[in-house]
């Protein structure tokens, strides 16, 4: 199976890279991208299936994201 963890900066945290990217998008001729935020996506192959939820969330909370500045979401794409 596949696990996809998406990590995005908390909305309270400013994201200069996102701001710069929004600007760049405008330069490319799309006037209204609105707010752009940049995060990480971690794709885990998990050939032997996923660990139990506690372990999985521990990994997301303590390693893959930093709760001080980021939120994460977990998906299991087909």
């Amino acid at each position: 199976m596949k696990i996809r963890v998406t990590v995005l900066p908390k909305s309270s945290v400013l994201d200069p890279q996102g701001v710069a990217t929004a600007e760049a998008i405008k330069h490319l001729g799309w006037a209204q991208p609105g707010r752009v935020r940049i995060g990480k996506v971690i794709e885990i192959e998990a050939p032997e299936g996923r660990p139990d939820d506690d372990k999985l969330h521990a990994i997301c909370r303590d390693l893959l994201s930093n709760p001080v500045i980021e939120d994460y979401t977990v998906e299991f794409p087909a």
Binding site: P16, Q17, A20, T21, E23, A24, H27
Partner: protein, 750 residues
């Protein structure tokens, strides 16, 4: 999977000519199979075989009392610096990969040259970079694309160098339309070692195990060597797989592991897997060792499944080394690799049959006489076009411009402007050695390992090389040597990077030949043997070949720390002297190019005899404690050089200058680029001693004025120009940052 059958088309696709194919059949006594064809194609590419340039490279002086390892013998030359210590240094280009993927292209270029140095057993201690891009000013054609390339290349070099902990302490950066679509990215690395630590890339001792260590092999960078030896076409932008991704973290572990391994005495031979990866490293070590080598591809650590022998052998995955180990030491070696968490495997052994034998399990997939593969590589004596020397510039065709406005414009031009935006992205302070970092003529690095102060500078001038390749060759060597002299250093040796177009064109080959002859002549004059270098040909974009751009990096030593000298004015009240006064026209000057858009004229010729005594005089004056600051007059002429002195010191310092009447037009007097001139400041109390010393060396010398005040003031005849240094500073220091804004971080980078 089934190998494709060998057809003339397939042979041509591998860049192998019919003659070369016949030569291959001769060596093998049969037709090569697909894998062998791939091996020959990379080993006989320009990048690995220098088949088009070798006869020219022989013209460089390569020997001298300090040479411990000669050019071409190993991955990098080694020079004695005294007290049992030596330096290994080399410059490498990564032009084509950087054109396709600036961040990774530049990053892996850094990784490659660092491996060349620690392969020699040396501890790498600093880097220099020499860069060329198309125009980036607002409104210039392709400015956005060129900025993207600059941003990507600089952050790529920063990424790799900063992460591995090597300071980039100097370099040079030029902008010209000739490099649009074909940027130049040349990186220099220097390492230190004791004489008895020199490692060899030879496979010796039949029966000795051959270890593979480092990153697993993947399909990335497939056949990059062949790639680097072809012209950049629209397709090569599609040439996806030829770009590699670097892992500076892995390389840092590899570096530490290899130095620990070499210190352990277990190593019989070591070779990095650079261009042509496993192929090149196996056959070169065997060929150097006069031995054979037998390798089983099944044992090679791989990142991907289903790789063919062809792919494994030609892959250019980064951060890999081949290590030949003394029999019996295997466990010791494994222990060290494990400590550093590095993938490793014993993939074969040294044999005595002179063959490079590649197996998959028991099946032999390639068998080639190793020595023939390297020594029998074709050598071409290309045809050179006739040279028609350029006309002298007719100054009457050059409209006079407002020189008060001209200087700030020149100082804000990307080529001449301060490069802080670039070098602040490099951790130039790590290793606590950058005594003189970026921002002065030459960098001075304190090598704590051996307690030596090493100076280094990298220089090239494509404009001059375009108009007069031979002079261009002399000029870049002379400028590098002059930069070292201004820092107080004695030059020891040089490494060169030859960036040219397609040598099959007689015009281009002439540029290559003349450039090399000019460089060789100058290296002899300064007694700086060439310890090695790199050739990058086929630098052509759809718009045509680049201007010939030979680049030289020179290394020197400063015996006494007290003699380290910088270019910036130290403060008010010093008298300013010009050593090596000389008049010239605006031929081949940045002034003529930047303000009039003209690449014209006959460059003022370098007089090597005068240069040598000039540099000696500068050093003597420094040793006698007479010099407060010294700066080489180069691009932009004396006006720009003076401005740099005012702006690049600890604080801003003004100066009042009285230029001699050289019976030239004002613009010529201020901005001509005659070589062999150095601006020196002297404590008034020492003026007489300084003057005596200069005249003793039979050098034209003249007092120009005194530092102080808040303006750069230049008097010439009845004319006076005034520039407040406060106003010049932002133009010079901030221009690049303004141009680059914050779009500078290409998203793909992180």
């Amino acid at each position: 999977m089934k190998d494709p059958t060998i057809t003339p088309e397939l042979i041509a696709k591998h860049g192998i000519t019919p003659d070369e194919y016949a030569r291959i059949q001769g060596i093998l006594g049969r037709d090569p199979n697909f894998t062998e064809l791939g091996i020959f194609s990379v080993m006989w590419s320009e990048h690995c075989s220098y088949k088009n340039s070798r006869p020219e490279l022989k013209k460089f002086p390569t020997s001298g009392p300090r040479i411990l390892v000669k050019a071409g013998e190993e991955n990098a030359g080694v020079l004695d610096v005294g007290d049992g210590w030596a330096v290994a240094f080399k410059i490498e280009s990564h032009n084509h990969p950087s054109a396709v993927e600036p961040f990774q292209g530049a990053a892996t270029g850094v990784g490659g040259i660092i491996r060349d140095i620690f392969t020699m057993g040396a501890r790498p201690i600093f880097l220099l970079d020499s860069l060329r891009f198309g125009p980036i000013e607002a409104g210039a054609p392709g400015a956005a694309a060129n900025r993207h390339l600059l941003a990507g290349v600089v952050s790529g070099i920063a990424h790799y160098g900063n992460c591995i902990g090597l300071p980039t302490v100097g370099g040079e950066t030029w902008f010209d339309e000739t490099y649009a679509g074909n940027p130049l990215v040349n990186v220099f690395c220097l390492g230190v070692l004791r004489h008895d630590q020199i490692a060899r890339g030879a496979a010796r001792g039949s029966g000795n195990p051959v270890f593979y260590v480092g990153a697993e092999t993947g399909r990335d960078g497939l056949a990059g060597a062949a790639f680097a030896s072809r012209e950049l076409t629209e397709e090569s932008r599609e040439d996806r797989p030829a770009v590699q991704v670097g892992d500076p973290f892995r390389e840092k572990l590899l570096l530490e592991a290899c130095l620990e391994l070499l210190a352990s005495g277990c190593v019989a031979g070591i070779q990095d897997m650079g261009a042509a990866g496993l192929t090149c490293s196996t056959c070169e070590t065997a060929s150097r060792g006069g031995s054979g080598i037998d390798v089983d591809l099944d044992l090679v650590p791989k990142r991907e499944t289903g790789m063919t022998p062809y792919e494994i052998l030609l892959s250019e995955s980064q951060e890999r080394m081949l290590v030949i180990v003394h029999r019996g030491q295997e466990d010791r070696v494994r222990e060290i690799f494990e400590k550093w968490d590095l993938p490793h495997a014993c993939i074969g052994q040294v044999t005595d049959d002179g063959l490079m034998r590649i197996r998959v399990g028991t099946r032999v997939v390639a068998e080639i006489p190793a020595a023939d593969l390297t020594d029998q590589a074709p050598v071409y004596h290309r045809e050179a076009a006739e040279w028609t020397p350029p006309q002298d510039l007719d100054i009457s065709t050059v409209p006079m411009v407002d020189l008060t406005a001209a200087l700030p414009r020149l100082l804000a031009h990307p080529t001449l402007t301060g490069k802080r935006w670039i070098w602040e992205q490099y951790d130039h302070m790590v290793r606590n050695g950058a005594v003189v970092g970026p921002g002065s003529d030459a960098a001075v690095f304190y090598a704590r390992e051996c307690g030596k102060f090493l100076a280094a500078s990298v220089d090239g001038n494509g404009l001059i090389s375009r108009l007069d390749p031979r002079e261009g060759g002399r000029r870049c060597v002379a400028e590098a040597a002059r930069n070292l002299a201004c820092a107080g250093a004695v030059p020891l040796g040089a490494t060169d990077n030859l960036n040219f177009g397609n040598p099959h064109k007689p015009e281009i080959f002439r540029q290559l030949r003349d450039s090399v002859e000019g460089m060789a002549e100058a290296c002899r004059a300064f007694d700086t043997p060439v310890t090695g270098g790199n050739v990058s040909l086929y630098n052509e974009s759809p718009a045509g070949p680049i201007d010939p751009t030979p680049v030289v990096a020179m290394v020197g030593v400063i015996e006494d720390e007290a003699h380290i000298t910088r270019q910036g004015f130290r403060g008010p009240g010093d008298s300013v002297w010009l050593l090596g006064e000389r008049a010239a026209g605006l031929d081949a000057s940045q002034f003529l190019l930047i303000l009039h858009g003209r690449k014209e004229g006959r460059p003022p010729q370098t007089d090597l005899g005068t240069e040598v005594s000039l540099h000696q005089a500068v050093r003597d004056a420094i040793r006698d404690g007479l010099v407060r600051s010294a700066h080489d007059c180069a691009e932009g002429g004396i006006a720009v050089a003076l401005a740099e002195c005012c702006l690049s010191g600890e604080g801003l310092v003004g100066v009042e200058i009285f230029l001699p009447d050289d019976e030239r037009r004002d613009d010529e007097s201020l901005f001509h680029e005659a070589p062999g001139r150095v601006l020196v400041t002297v404590d008034p109390a020492d003026e007489e001693a300084f003057h005596d010393l200069a005249t003793l060396c039979r050098l034209p010398v003249r007092k120009l004025g005194t530092t102080g005040g808040s303006e750069l003031v230049i008097h010439l005849r009845t004319q006076t120009w005034r520039w407040p240094v406060e106003a010049l500073f932002p133009a010079w220091d901030g221009a690049l940052g303004k141009l680059m804004g914050t779009v500078a971080e290409p998203l793909a980078a992180h």
